[in-house]
Amino acid sequence: MKNTIHVQRAIHKMTQADLSEAIGVSRQTINSIEKNRYVPSTVLALKIARTFKVSVEELFELEEQD
């Protein structure tokens, strides 16, 4: 699954630490999600989407192999 979290962070001028603080997870978790090593739960995906004021579909996209 692809995601555009790092793009959204750049748009909103947020660091990984800022985002992790905003949604209540560790910075390592944000890093893992951005590098596609960890797929977040629905709750966390919705929290990230709400932080960037976008829909979940704009943040996460399924790939061929998913």
Partner: protein, 144 residues
């Protein structure tokens, strides 16, 4: 169960101790190691009781380390904790199955020193299970 308890079970962070217990748990582990290596120099307990007590102190300390929360617990770490537990369970099962063969192999290898008599195999299995859990958890935290 009330809603709060159900929520804890759903999130998977039930039965976990506070983070500071990780540091408190180092104390019984150190005591166990010291007691094990210096059992000949103390006169309070006989050697057999001292080795058994040392083993139990180490197991207790590791148990506290395992069931203590991380500094910043979140869903990823709980996920990794469950994965590490599953891996350790699988390895533990394999270990229990191969223990009779391992017992024979180790006793023939170390017969002269009989160093492996310090723990019974039940304790050894639990100890290896704990070590496997801690190694896997640490590895997953680095890689995932």
């Amino acid at each position: 169960m009330n809603d709060k308890q159900l929520d804890k079970v759903r999130k998977g962070d039930f039965l976990l101790l506070p983070h500071y217990m990780k540091w408190v748990a180092v104390f019984p582990v150190l005591c166990g190691i010291v007691l094990f290596f210096f059992k000949e120099y103390q006169h309070f307990l006989n050697e057999e009781v001292a080795t058994g007590m040392a083993g139990h102190l180490i197991l207790l300390g590791f148990l506290f380390i395992i069931i203590s929360r991380d500094k910043f617990p979140d869903e990823r770490l709980l996920n990794l904790r469950h994965k590490a537990m599953a891996y350790a369970f699988m390895y533990g099962m394999i270990l229990v199955i191969v223990t009779p063969f391992l017992n024979f192999l180790l006793s023939s290898l170390f017969r002269s020193g009989s160093q492996l008599d310090f723990m019974d195999y039940g304790m050894l299995s639990i100890f290896l299970f704990q070590i496997m859990y801690l190694i896997n958890y640490w590895r997953f935290k680095q890689e995932l």
